[in-house]
Structure formats: structure tokens, C-alpha cells
């Protein structure tokens, strides 16, 4: 009976999943975009609503109207100003844009609202009603009911109206639909606005049930993706059923996870197990059904961020070493530790350059690899192992996880892979890093002070060692780019068929890249642990993962210099420190999100790449113009349709 009660209580959460999933499906059908910011939109709209209602004392109806208007404006603005411009951009750029919105909204919430988790008074009656002999608060039933009603409404609109027909036509072929006289812009704007309003409803109705929490609401996007995936991003009915089902199962699972038992029950008891379930559903669904996501009619095989051969392979490291040493021996301790965080950030970003920049596999799990390294570091260092041994061992264990995480990349690519890796990182965050039973200590574990040959390194010494490690790694990554490996990597990321024709074993290659990259990230996480003398789980959350990818993308994810930029922007790094001295550290997320949105538009290849291209052009101007024949006019398949064969 208790199971049933918990399951029914999960109708509230499930209803929110269902509403958000409806929004995801609507947006995907209209514009083919996987909106990673769906949870963040629900979050910001909830904050807006409760600020209006509880802060400004507006009536519920008035606040609801304004919050809905806010969602519409946000949806229209984001579509028209950002996504519409990116419709022919590479997949990575479009994913990054929605991640940028996520970061920006997260940052705005922190800046504008009091983000202490609280439970606002419900907008609908929450009196218990009797259902199958179990008392269930009415607000949960209403939330689930709203989801069902809206799904029916959306289905009707989709099937019976001209606008619904247009959305279906567009998801087949954007060009075809515009030929029929319907504006894809109008359809796109409409679907984004509807999707955001659905998110707003979910956020406003769920907050009184689950709490108004900026991070938790933003992370709703993971289970919501699970529901949308089960619906194959097409069926509204299935999306709602899956959302409700996931919410109920997740709620019922709490009964199991609260129980204590034999050691092997560790796997399913403990913190975050019920939350991890939907993420597990995403991963398994993706791996077993391969391309669950139907490909859209318009195939964009756009450019990838450029990855030119590194220019200053000798001078670069030398300058970095000199500048780094000068910095280390001249600054105050607070700046020194920010410097080391930056170096560790460079390391983690280098891992992203390897796997995303070179091989084109969009991984949002790099910080989870780092966290694994950090955890191992806490374990091994407190067992008395020396620094120089702990570092590679941490990397190796992270590499094992990387190998595992690389497996899905053999079957899914692009946004689907981003989703799988995000889910894996989510599981690490909610169920591994914060599980105190693993190391004892509720997600915080001391890391012994680093010592080299029995000598304690101290802050300065550790900084120097870290500097050397990062510079060596950076140089190796640069060398890798111009090696056979690098050429093959670029071949694989650009054209898997031609790469296979060249005799490249793509599967092994991808796995190797994931493993190597996770090793680098793991060492980065280990360094981060030594820097803080503690493994703290909140340094390895999904938000950190997104932040690293964001910064690396702005800097230029195909280049070592892009990783340098990412390190400077890492949270707690030098840029944070600079903001902190100005008393502006709360602006960091907003700046990151905003800069990312701008960067995606203005420098789709990253800033480092833009600088590189400018230098390139200058260099070219002095050399004679290419004597090549006129450029290829695209696909020339105008072969004689009917060859002149001997007829008769």
C-alpha cells in the first residue's frame, strides 16, 4: 500500500515531467532543436511568478498572466534572436546555444532572486482527497490533470488545424513547407513560445510540491529528456504517459532507496538512486535503440569548429612557463590558488579539446571524469600514497569510466551523444559523488597535502608542479593534432564513411579518444582535489561540466589556446578572482551565459579561432594569390542522365 501511496504522490512530479516533455517535443517538432534549457526556463518562470505573487502581492491570476507573458517573450526572443540565426549552424553550435541560455537563466536567478530553497504556497488547492483509499493532496492530481488536458489539446491542434499541419510538414522538410506558403519563422516562433509556456506552467505548479530550487528545477531537463525520448520526440500522448510514469516510479523508488540492507544493496539504496533512474533510462534507451531520434528532413552537415594545426608549438610552452612562473612567485595566496584552479581547469578543458574538438564527439561528462579522479585522489592520498602515484592512478580510473562512457558514442552521435553523456554526468552527480558511504564523509573528503619525495610542496611548490604538468599535457595535445592521430581524428569527425574507407577503425578510435580524454580530465580533477585539500562534490556538478564546455567553446574548442581560455574562465579561476576583487562574482554565470550566446553568433569557431583566421589572412595577403581553378560550385552530379549508348 505504501508503494501505491508513494507512486500516487509522484503524480505531481510526473505531471511536471509530462508538461516539460510536451514543451520539448513541441520545440523539437517545430525547429528540430533539443532544448537543454527547458528546466531552466521552468525555473526562471517559477521565480518570476512567485516574486510577483509573494513579493509584489499580485493576485494569482495576475501573476500567472505576467509569468506566461514573460515565458512567451523569452521564447520568442530566444528563437528569433538566437536559434533562428543558427538554423544552418553545426549541431554543436545549436546545442551550445541552448546550454548558454541555461547558464544565463541560472545566473540571472542567482542574481535577481533569493535562491534559498523554499516551498511557496500552492497556486491550486492542496487539500487531501481520497483516491483508492489513499489521501493524495489535490494539487498533485491537478498538475497531472493539466498535463493530460494539454496533451490532448496539443494533439488536436496538431491533427486538426492548419498550423498543426504546418508543424508536421516542417519537421519533414523546411523547404517543402515554405513552398506551401507557410512561414517557417512563424511556426518556429510559435513552437518556442508554446514550449516555454508549458515549462512555465510546470515550474509554477511543481515548486510548491518539490520546492523552489534554482538548480533542482534546471536539472529537471534530464528526466524530462527521458520522457521525450520514450515519445521519440513525436507523440504528445506518449510523452505525457512517460512523464507521469517516470514521476510515479521515481517517487515509489524512494521507499526502496531509503531501506538499508546487505552491502550489495548499495547499488540501489542511498542518495539520488531514484533520481538517477530516469537518466539511466535515457542512456539505455539511446544505446539499445541507436538512433531513437528521428533525423529531421533538413540535414545540416555544417562546419565544425576549426581545429588548425597549432602554430607556436615551441614558443607557446616556453612563454606559458615563463609567464606562469612569474605569476606564481609574485602573487598573493588567494590569487595563487585561483591560478592553480585555472590550471586544473585548463587540464579539464584540454580533455574536451581532445574528445569534442578533435574527434567531434560532444561530451558533457568531462567534469564527471574529473570528479572521479578527485574522488580517487581523496581515497588514495588518505591511504598514504604519494602525490606522483596518486595523480596517474586517478587518471587511470577516470580513463576506465571514459572507456565506458565512450561506448554509447559508437551508436549515437551529435545531440543524442550530448544527451547520453549529460545523463551519465547526472548519475555521477546525484548518486556517486554525493554518496558519503563510498568514502565516508557525505561528499566531502580530505585530500592529503601533496608531497614530492617526502617534501611537502606547499602552495607555491604545488603550483609549479601543476604548471609543469599542464604545460606538458598542452604540448602533447598540440603534438597530437599534427600527428597521424590528429589527422585521423579530424577525418573521423568530418566524415566517418571516408575515414572507414581510409582503413581507420572508427570504433576503436573513438573509444581510445574517450579513454585518453577521461585520463586527462581525471588528472585535472585530482589536481583540483590537491589544490583545495578536499574532494568536494559540488565542484563536479553538471553545471561545472556545462561551464567548462561553454568556456572551451568560446575560446575555440578545437585548439589548445581555447583550453587556456576555458581555464581562465573556470569557476574559481582567475576570471572569478578578478570579478571577486571587484565584488562582482555573482555575475559570473550571467557573463558566461551571455558571452556564450554572443560567441555562438559572432565567432562560431571560438575566439581563438577568429584570431587564428585573422593572422592567417594577414599571412596570405603577402603570398601570391592561389592559382587554383574557380571554387567548386557544390555537388556536381550533372552527369549525362542517359548516356549515349549504342542504340540499335
Amino acid at each position: 500500500m505504501a508503494v501505491l501511496q508513494f507512486a500516487l504522490l509522484g503524480l505531481g512530479l510526473g505531471g511536471a515531467y509530462a508538461l516539460l516533455a510536451l514543451g520539448l517535443v513541441t520545440i523539437y517538432r517545430g525547429t528540430g532543436v533539443l532544448n537543454f534549457s527547458q528546466g531552466a526556463v521552468a525555473m526562471i518562470c517559477a521565480y518570476v511568478f512567485f516574486a510577483l505573487r509573494d513579493g509584489l502581492r499580485l493576485s494569482t491570476a495576475g501573476a500567472a498572466l505576467l509569468a506566461a507573458a514573460f515565458a512567451v517573450v523569452l521564447g520568442l526572443a530566444f528563437y528569433l534572436l538566437v536559434m533562428r540565426q543558427l538554423r544552418n549552424s553545426p549541431v554543436l553550435a545549436r546545442i551550445i546555444a541552448t546550454l548558454a541560455l541555461l547558464l544565463l537563466l541560472q545566473g540571472l536567478a542567482m542574481l535577481l532572486f533569493d535562491v534559498q530553497t523554499r516551498t511557496p504556497v500552492s497556486v491550486v488547492p492542496a487539500t487531501p482527497v481520497d483516491l483508492l483509499g489513499i489521501a493524495i493532496p489535490m494539487d498533485r492530481l491537478i498538475l497531472a490533470g493539466v498535463a493530460v488536458v494539454l496533451a490532448v489539446a496539443l494533439s488536436l491542434v496538431s491533427r486538426r488545424t492548419r498550423i498543426g499541419l504546418a508543424v508536421r510538414a516542417i519537421s519533414d522538410s523546411e523547404k517543402g513547407a515554405s513552398l506551401s506558403g507557410l512561414s517557417p519563422v512563424l511556426i518556429g516562433a510559435l513552437t518556442w513560445a508554446v514550449g516555454f509556456v508549458l515549462a512555465a506552467v510546470a515550474g509554477v505548479m511543481l515548486s510548491p510540491i518539490a520546492g523552489l530550487d534554482a538548480k533542482a528545477l534546471t536539472l529537471l531537463v534530464v528526466p524530462v529528456f527521458a520522457a521525450a525520448l520514450i515519445a521519440r520526440f513525436t507523440s504528445f500522448g506518449v510523452a505525457v504517459a512517460a512523464g507521469l510514469g517516470l514521476g510515479m516510479v521515481e517517487s515509489a523508488l524512494q521507499l526502496v532507496t531509503d531501506a538499508e540492507g546487505a552491502w550489495y544493496t548499495w547499488l540501489w539504496t542511498g542518495p539520488g538512486r531514484s533520481q538517477a533512474l530516469p537518466a539511466l533510462v535515457v542512456i539505455i534507451a539511446m544505446i539499445f535503440s541507436g538512433r531513437l531520434l528521428p533525423a529531421r528532413g533538413e540535414v545540416v552537415r555544417g562546419r565544425l569548429p576549426i581545429s588548425p594545426p597549432p602554430r607556436y608549438r615551441v614558443a607557446g610552452p616556453i612563454i606559458a612557463l615563463a609567464a606562469g612562473l612569474a605569476f606564481i612567485f609574485s602573487v598573493r595566496p588567494s590569487w595563487l590558488s585561483a591560478g592553480v584552479v585555472t590550471l586544473a581547469g585548463v587540464m579539464i578543458a584540454l580533455s574536451a579539446v581532445l574528445v569534442t574538438g578533435f574527434i567531434g564527439q560532444i561530451s558533457l561528462a568531462q567534469v564527471a571524469f574529473a570528479g572521479t579522479g578527485g574522488m580517487l585522489t581523496a581515497l588514495l592520498s588518505s591511504a598514504g600514497l604519494p602525490f606522483l602515484l596518486v595523480l596517474p592512478l586517478s587518471g587511470l580510473v577516470a580513463a576506465l569510466l571514459g572507456l565506458l562512457a565512450g561506448l554509447p558514442s559508437l551508436r549515437v552521435r551529435g545531440p543524442s551523444l550530448a544527451l547520453v553523456t549529460l545523463s551519465a554526468a547526472y548519475i555521477c552527480q546525484v548518486a556517486v559523488f554525493s554518496d558519503g558511504r563510498l568514502l565516508g564523509g557525505q561528499g566531502y573528503n580530505r585530500v592529503a597535502s601533496p608531497a614530492l619525495f617526502g617534501l611537502e610542496l606547499g602552495g607555491t611548490g604545488f603550483a609549479v608542479v601543476t604548471l609543469v604538468i599542464v604545460i606538458v599535457t598542452g604540448s602533447l595535445v598540440a603534438a597530437l593534432r599534427v600527428s597521424t592521430f590528429g589527422r585521423r581524428a579530424l577525418a573521423v569527425r568530418e566524415n566517418e564513411a571516408a575515414a572507414a574507407a581510409a582503413g581507420i577503425d572508427i570504433k576503436r578510435f573513438k573509444l581510445a579518444a574517450f579513454t585518453l580524454s577521461a585520463f586527462v580530465a581525471g588528472v585535472g580533477g585530482s589536481l583540483l582535489g590537491y589544490q583545495a585539500n578536499v574532494f568536494a562534490f559540488e565542484r563536479f556538478t553538471i553545471f561545472e561540466s556545462l561551464h567548462v564546455i561553454a568556456m572551451a567553446y568560446i575560446g575555440g574548442i578545437g585548439m589548445v589556446s581555447g583550453a587556456l581560455f576555458a581555464g581562465l574562465g573556470a569557476s574559481g579561476g582567475l576570471f572569478s578572482q578578478l570579478l571577486a576583487t571587484w565584488g562582482a562574482d555573482s555575475y559570473q554565470l550571467v557573463i558566461a551565459g551571455g558571452a556564450l550566446l554572443l560567441a555562438v553568433q559572432l565567432h562560431p569557431d571560438g575566439m581563438a579561432a577568429t584570431l587564428h583566421t585573422i593572422r592567417e589572412r594577414r599571412g596570405r595577403r603577402s603570398s601570391p594569390a592561389p592559382a587554383a581553378a574557380p571554387p567548386d560550385d557544390g555537388k556536381d552530379r550533372s552527369a549525362p542522365a542517359e548516356p549515349s549508348v549504342p542504340v540499335k
Binding site: 574507407a501 587554383a628 574557380p630 567548386d632 552530379r637 549515349s644
Partner: protein, 232 residues
């Protein structure tokens, strides 16, 4: 023993049979042509031989069955193809494109492959800077850099004018006659095929309808009918 033997090779895409129980053999040191109207299954044939399309039936390279091998392994074993749409790596220079494929015993496979196709001057350019015709030659050179035992060319002469096509044919003939490689040539340019090939296979709707030396194929009434497009 033939270099390549195809035994009842069949490729199905969903309900469509793109290649229907086709069998033929390519002898080492020859130039085999494969022609047929649009949709005859020529490219699918190349996909099947190179492991890029799932097929039933058997494929043997020098007597060894390779039907279960993945694409990269067939490439390493010496079956190397070009693509109709070239598929050059746009982010790599021509030299790097060839280096990605390079394999074999020659001292400098990249330089010699570029020279064989007379495109050595393109080495440091990016594919986007080349004309269509030049890019086609580069894509053949890239495949040659892998030192193939069997080179599969998918419409390499598309878009070339009559003169270019003739010169291209002469290059292919030279490759085979000097023992560099064996070639299976798919093209729409029937004049090219008739002029340079030792033997020709003709496909229509996935089935083999004729085969033999050019003179025999030219005279075959089945072939004429297929190209007329009717059942007359």
C-alpha cells in the same frame, strides 16, 4: 585465382532489393567496368564490396572470404574506394588527405600518388580551393596513396568534358598496365568505359544483364534495351 570474386551478392534496403544475386570476378591486373542506368545498383555494389552496405552472398579477396569484415579492415587489406561525391576531408590539406589514407611500401606514397594523377601542385591546398575536375583527380590520388590491390572508382569522370575524360582514361589504363593496381570502374560515361576497360559488367535494376569485353557488350540487345528505359 581471381583477385576479387563476388558470389550471389544481394543487398536489400528495407523492401527494396538494390543488388540482386550478382556474381562476377575481377582478375588481377585488369580494368573492369561496371555500367548501368540510374538506380541500377552500381554504387550499392561498391558499398557492398567495401563493407559499407550489409549484403548476403560471398565476397572473396584472393580466395579469402571477406564478407564478414568491417569496412576499415577491407580497406587495410587493399580494397580502397573513391566516392561519387568525393568526400574529401575539407579541413585537411590535400597532402594531409592523402596521408590519412597512406599505406604501403613505397618510399613516399603521397608524392607518388599525386604525381600519378598529375596533381602534385595541389599538395598544400585545401580541397575547397580546387576545381571539381582537379578535386576528382585528388580523390583518386588519395585512394592510390593507400596502395590498393583493388581500386574501386565511383563515377570518377562525372563532370569532366570529353577531352579531360579521355586523358583520365589514359591515366587509369597506365595504372593498370604498369602493375600499380587493379581497377573496378563505375561510370556513366559509356565512351570512357568502352575505351579503357578490359571487361564490362552491366547492371539494371540490381540484376546483371550482360558482361564481357566492350565489343560484346556494345552489341548486346539487352543492354540497348536497358538504356532505352522501356521494356520494348
Amino acid at each position: 585465382m581471381s583477385l576479387l570474386e563476388l558470389d550471389r551478392v544481394t543487398v536489400r534496403y528495407g523492401g527494396v532489393t538494390a543488388v540482386d544475386s550478382v556474381g562476377f570476378a575481377v582478375e588481377s591486373g585488369t580494368l573492369m567496368g561496371l555500367i548501368g542506368p540510374n538506380g541500377a545498383g552500381k554504387t550499392t555494389m561498391i558499398d557492398a564490396i567495401t563493407g559499407m552496405a550489409r549484403c548476403s552472398g560471398d565476397i572473396r579477396l584472393a580466395g579469402e572470404s571477406i564478407a564478414s569484415w568491417p569496412a576499415y579492415r577491407r580497406s587495410r587489406a587493399g580494397i580502397v574506394r573513391t566516392f561519387q561525391s568525393l568526400e574529401l576531408f575539407m579541413e585537411l590539406t590535400v597532402r594531409e588527405n592523402l596521408q590519412t589514407y597512406a599505406r604501403g611500401r613505397q618510399a613516399d606514397p603521397v608524392a607518388s600518388a599525386l604525381e600519378r594523377m598529375d596533381v602534385a601542385w595541389t599538395a598544400d591546398r585545401y580541397p575547397a580551393e580546387l576545381s571539381t575536375g582537379t578535386a576528382r583527380l585528388v580523390s583518386v590520388a588519395r585512394a592510390l596513396a593507400a596502395a590498393p590491390r583493388l581500386l574501386l572508382l565511383d563515377e570518377p569522370a562525372a563532370g569532366l568534358d570529353a577531352g579531360e575524360s579521355r586523358r583520365f582514361g589514359a591515366k587509369l589504363r597506365r595504372l593498370v598496365d604498369s602493375g600499380v593496381t587493379t581497377i573496378l570502374l563505375v561510370d556513366h560515361d559509356v565512351d570512357l568505359i568502352m575505351n579503357v576497360c578490359d571487361d564490362i559488367q552491366v547492371l539494371d535494376f540490381g540484376k546483371k544483364i550482360a558482361s564481357g569485353p566492350p565489343s560484346a557488350v556494345r552489341a548486346d540487345p539487352e543492354v540497348a534495351r536497358a538504356y532505352l528505359g522501356g521494356t520494348a
